[in-house]
């Protein structure tokens, strides 16, 4: 390419860029959301489609919608790409929906679309994950459980299984997973309580949420500590791998496995007695609560603010915390008698 041509190309590119970023932004008239008097319409946008976890949230919403008689739809993006939820938000706004409930794939990438939705008088609530840093853009948020209490409840779970005495180990995900580390910190605090004085945390192993590595870590824990009485794994990959290791090692009953798992993954181990009980939040409850919240927002009967409470049908009272966050109920404990009712 000759110099002249390069100059022309560069000039064209510069002109293009100047044009693009030089234009004035569109001004939008802001519509304030007024209480809905007709049929309330709510749409839920999960992170992706075909995910049993979000299917359960969807079931909760459906229950709430049949109890309160609002029109409910679910619109799932095909992939969990950060930008795939944007056109769905725009379409729902255009379609005249009253409340959009969303489990955001990426908090920040959705900010402009959510801001535009609010400007059109559509209320937005977040579920399962929040718009961290841009909380002012949505009306309220429903989180699965109070994560500050999670560590302590996990210690109680493993303690009750091993009679509150003996050696146990933790099988975590990666060394730098923020959730895991926060929960493990909570566990260590709980262990200082007199009730758990007979329990000794011998090691924290990291399986990187990789089934194969988690299995190897669990097996090596059992070899290294012959008196090990329990493995606590607050991650769904780890708990399944630990259960596998105990089952194939013939240590069922000797080494107790518990932590956070999904009923679908753990069903086999619970039914054959390898795992007695484990915990997780119930995503359906979360969807149910969010359904009541969405309806109340649309009707103008719920005004979110810290300390304000409302009744979420059969789930009972829910209270807004800081940033209008609702922590849904305590963890659900799954065992042989109830696991058949859960499919996620």
């Amino acid at each position: 390419m000759s110099l002249n041509r390069m100059v022309i190309a560069a000039a064209a590119a510069a002109a293009m860029t100047a044009f693009l970023w030089g234009c004035k932004p569109k001004t939008t008239a802001v519509t304030v959301a007024a209480p809905v008097t007709g049929t309330v319409r709510v749409c839920y946008i999960p992170k992706n489609t075909g995910n049993p976890y979000f299917d359960a949230v969807n079931n909760g919403f459906t229950q709430a919608s049949s109890a309160l008689h609002f029109k409910y739809t679910e619109q799932a993006p095909a992939t969990a790409d950060a930008t795939d939820q944007i056109p769905i938000i725009q379409q729902q706004v255009q379609d005249g929906v009253n409340v959009i409930a969303i489990s955001p794939n990426s908090p920040e990438a959705l900010d402009p679309a959510i801001r535009a939705a609010e400007q059109h008088g559509v209320r937005v609530i977040t579920i399962d994950a929040d718009l961290t840093g841009s909380e002012q853009l949505r009306s309220a948020c429903v989180l699965p459980t109070d994560f500050n209490k999670l560590g302590a409840s996990q210690i109680e779970l493993i303690g009750s299984l091993m009679g509150y005495t003996g050696d146990f180990a933790i099988l975590s995900a990666t060394t730098d997973a923020p959730n895991q580390n926060a929960w493990i910190a909570g566990m260590k605090v709980a262990l200082k309580l007199p009730k758990y004085a007979g329990m000794h945390l011998v090691e924290i192993a990291y399986g990187n949420d990789d089934p194969q590595k988690s299995l190897l870590e669990a097996q090596s824990l059992m070899t290294k500590y012959p008196h090990l009485k329990g493995i606590l794994s607050p991650t769904t990959v780890g708990i399944a791998a630990a259960a596998q290791a105990v089952e194939t090692g013939g240590a069922a009953g000797k080494v107790q496995v518990t932590g956070l798992g999904t009923p679908n993954q753990m069903r086999r181990f619970v039914l054959d007695g390898t795992v007695k009980k484990f915990a997780l939040w119930d995503p359906a409850q979360m969807g149910y609560t969010a359904g009541y919240l969405a309806y109340g927002l649309a009707r103008g009967t719920i005004h979110p603010a810290a300390g304000v409470s409302f009744t979420a049908g059969t789930e009972g009272i829910r209270v807004f915390g800081t940033n209008n966050v609702i922590s849904n109920g305590p963890l659900m404990v799954f065992n042989k008698s109830n696991i058949g009712q859960y499919h996620f």
Binding site: L20, A76, D81, P87
Partner: protein, 321 residues
């Protein structure tokens, strides 16, 4: 002459399909026929459209560039990191991002021409490499908080028209002019049609191939900046899988996947068709899986029908490559 006739009729078919898709959308949702909304909705397809223009040239040469969406993400990630973590002025950071995107495209072109590697393999590799590099750079977090002058480029308007949509139209005209009205464009067409013959007539086939890959990379990088501004964030997983949308638009537009024949108006019409279908089906709350199926059927039909036409005209069907 005959081939030209088929191409014309393919564009005519696309126009008819757009009309049908439009009418069906109007019928399915009473909110579809709202010019303000439709104009806003076009901004979601600008990146795909710009990359499809460059991809039309790549496919014209009988090559493929699977790395465009990854290149987009890397450019956004790199520019974002230089600005946010190293304190570089944003315009400089963006320029560096663009240069890197062009270099990545150049590397694709050189590997294809110098080492005689198939572009499918080369760009499959760079697709993983560039995406991986973006992930290493930025980790599982977002870079946000761009200044007002940069953020929200899709919100900029000229009258009622979004500026980036106008830019896509201008770019399409420019691309069409290059392809059909310049010597370089003709040489690219000749190379795509018959590489050996083009080389014998003194065309530097390698130089053209390298340049086309470089432009494809640069265009992807530019789209990375647009997307970063549009969504107000840079992430490693931006536009994941978008290369397939881009290739779909090109092939549906009548560009022969085996090379040799390309149509810029066809690419644009195909993009409009996909945009109308997706927007209409989305408004009618048809789930994304069904949307994929509909676009997929359309793509398969768009490849099968010309072959059937050729067979009916007594010509040999083109084997799929």
């Amino acid at each position: 002459m005959k081939l030209k006739g088929i191409r014309w009729s393919h564009q005519f078919t696309l126009l008819l399909l757009i009309a049908v898709a439009f009418l069906v959308s109007v019928h399915m949702s009473r909110h579809f026929l709202d010019p303000a909304y439709l104009l806003t909705a076009t901004t979601n397809f600008v990146e795909t459209g710009l990359m499809a223009l460059a991809m039309t040239f790549v496919i014209l040469l009988g090559e493929i560039d699977l790395s465009v969406a990854s290149n987009l993400a890397l450019t956004a990630a790199l520019s974002g990191v230089l600005w946010a973590h190293f304190g570089w002025p944003l315009p400089v950071a963006c320029m560096v991002g663009l240069v890197v995107s062009a270099v990545a495209g150049l590397a694709n072109g050189l590997l294809v021409t110098r080492l005689k590697l198939p572009s499918l393999t080369v760009t499959l590799g760079s697709m993983a490499l560039l995406r991986g590099a973006a992930q290493v750079l930025i980790g599982n977090q977002s870079i946000t908080g761009f200044p007002d002058w940069f953020a929200g480029v899709d919100q900029r308007v000229v009258g009622p028209f979004p500026a980036i949509t106008l830019l896509l139209l201008v770019a399409a005209v420019a691309w069409w002019a290059v392809l059909t009205r310049t010597i370089r464009g003709r040489m690219t067409q000749a190379t795509g049609a018959n590489r050996a013959a083009a080389r014998l007539s003194g065309i530097s086939v390698e130089a053209i191939t390298v340049r086309v890959f470089m432009v494809s990379g640069l265009m992807a990088g530019f789209c990375g900046l647009i997307m970063m501004s549009r969504v107000g964030a840079a992430r490693w997983d931006m536009a994941q899988g978008r290369e397939l949308d881009v290739i779909t638009a090109v092939v549906l537009g009548g560009t022969d996947i085996a090379g040799g024949e390309a149509s810029i108006p066809g690419t644009m019409l195909a993009l409009i068709l996909i945009a109308v279908m997706r927007t209409g089906m989305g408004l009618a709350e048809i789930n994304p899986e069904t949307q994929h199926v509909a676009v997929g059927i359309l793509l398969a039909a768009s490849i099968a029908i010309p072959n059937l036409l050729r067979m009916r005209n007594g010509q040999k069907a083109q084997p799929a490559k």
